[in-house]
């Protein structure tokens, strides 16, 4: 962060002096913050805060999800679980197609190499 341009220090340039002071301040601040987040106390506090947030917001999230699912069910529309299951099935189908595609690649390779051999054999036959 620091510009490190002390060589070009000019006492008559107040903006550069201000920048140098700002950079020195930010460097010190950055170092302090890195040291702070590297402590066990910070790790403990952030873990507990995350737990509290997840626990506190959980009922609200569940309520929204349940209301959305009920609404979609009443409207005869697929809900999140239905779409998720469908997507999982799609991935399974894609995997089978991928296996078929690989087998086709192998077959093509065999056909090409054998037709190449056949072509060479015919060229080598005496006329």
């Amino acid at each position: 962060m620091s510009s490190g341009n002390n060589e070009s220090f000019n006492p008559f340039d107040p903006s550069q002096m201000f920048k140098d002071m700002r950079n020195a301040g930010m460097d010190a601040w950055a170092k302090t913050m890195v040291e702070l987040v590297n402590t066990d106390a910070y790790a403990e506090a952030s873990g507990s805060m995350l737990d509290a947030w997840l626990g506190g917001s959980g009922p609200f999230r569940d309520a929204v999800e349940s209301a959305t699912t009920n609404t979609l069910n009443n409207l005869n529309m697929p809900n999140r679980d239905d779409i998720t299951r469908l997507a999982e099935r799609m991935t399974n189908i894609e995997m089978r197609l991928d296996d078929l595609d690989a087998k086709l690649d192998e077959l093509l390779l065999v056909v090409r190499s054998s037709s190449g051999e056949h072509h060479r054999d015919r060229e080598e036959e005496p006329s």
């Binding site: 930010m26 890195v34 987040v37 873990g47 998720t84 299951r85 997507a87 991935t91 894609e94």
Partner: protein, 363 residues
């Protein structure tokens, strides 16, 4: 008197110009913060796709006779886009390698949806990656290949290389690979996740996939002042320097493009790797297969960033004593987790070393 009346309009003019410049700078600053730069511009074609994962083949730029016979597959992390490998024209690792005759492939894992919540490292290493490699071999016509894994991509590459050593992997390049979590005080990530109060199971139970915003905030909080203040101050200081602002804009575009991480993979990463250190301890089991690093026999280049705050060097070092490779090298670079490959110095330090190491082993 006359002099003063003449000077006044010019002073007003100067103030007006200064004001106009300041407004223009502010507008430029705002544009750089809120718009996306054109990144990942090198031409490529999609050769394979499965679920969200995509395999791209970069269009070669040198004649066939000058190309290296062993193709190179690049595997990036699962919680970021891989565009950082091809950041911007004129400063792109992809472009650099293409010009030197490499047949390049890029695996983009894509952004997991709710249906991918159950995806684990088992799936990435033994379901997706073998399929990618199968396709790569079919497209390239080569039975051998090289692989470059970065961050969690390096972890997945290591798992694959240890579990499938006879699959044609000739050269393995690991960049900032988080593999060894013996030291629970090395780096803030390890400290946070090793703490008893950190509960990844609850995060995944409540949120499903881990939101990109949460992962992004976690990464930025490792250096909060640099990421939340310093980066913008640096931009403002250099707002009249197009070279610096373009580089910043491209990097910011990549940083802003956040994606979630599959819930089960996150749980596995924290519990089995960060907390229990199973890979190095030799107790990791992937899809019923015991992962033995001694089975990794490919030529190995291990690139370590000396100032890496995400993957501290000690997390990448010990693998060198455990792998079975006879040709192995550690390359230490001055710089951070991303900077060693995307920073200004990458083109002069990291890229040439990777290229020369690979060139000697790609014949």
């Amino acid at each position: 008197m006359n002099k003063t009346t003449n000077a006044l309009p010019s002073q007003f003019n100067e103030i007006g110009n200064e004001w106009h410049n300041a407004v223009q700078r502010a507008q430029r600053f705002n544009r750089l913060l809120t718009t996306d730069a054109d990144i990942a511009q090198t031409p490529k074609e999609l050769v394979w796709a499965l679920n969200k994962a995509k395999l791209y083949h970069y269009v070669p730029v040198v004649p066939e006779a000058e190309r290296k016979p062993v193709p190179l597959l690049m595997v990036f992390a699962i919680m970021n886009r891989p565009h950082v490998l091809d950041l911007r024209p004129g400063h792109s690792f992809v472009e650099y390698m293409l010009k030197r005759g490499y047949d390049l492939y890029l695996l983009d894992w894509g952004a997991p949806g709710p249906e991918d919540q159950g995806m684990k490292f088992d799936d990435y290493a033994l379901e997706y990656l073998p399929r990618v490699i199968r396709k790569l071999k079919a497209v390239s016509g080569s039975s051998e290949f090289s692989m470059l894994g970065w961050c969690l991509g390096a972890l997945i590459s290591t798992l694959y290389a240890s579990l499938r050593p006879d699959d044609g992997l000739k050269n393995l390049i690991l960049l900032t690979a988080p593999l060894d979590f013996t030291d629970k005080t090395a780096g803030a990530f390890t400290r946070w996740t090793s703490n008893a109060s950190f509960n990844p199971d609850l995060i995944v139970e409540k949120l499903g996939n881990v939101p990109g915003e949460m992962i992004d905030a976690g990464a930025k909080l490792l250096k909060p002042v640099e990421n939340y203040v310093g980066s913008y101050v640096m931009l403002w200081d250099n707002i009249d320097n197009p070279g610096t602002t373009e580089a910043w804009h491209a990097m910011n575009t990549w940083v802003r493009d956040i994606i979630p991480m599959a819930g089960s993979a996150y749980k596995q990463l924290i519990n089995e790797f960060y907390k229990e250190n199973r890979l190095i301890e030799g107790s990791l089991v992937i899809r019923g297969e015991h992962v033995k690093l001694s089975n990794l026999t490919a030529n190995l280049l291990n690139v370590i960033a000396e100032s890496d705050h995400i993957t501290p060097p000690c997390q990448s070092e010990r693998i060198m004593d455990l792998v079975g490779s006879s040709d192995k090298e550690v390359f230490r670079v001055r710089g951070g987790h991303i900077g060693i490959m995307a920073g200004r110095g990458a083109e002069k330090s990291t890229w040439p070393h990777i290229e020369s190491w690979l060139a000697a082993r790609s014949a």
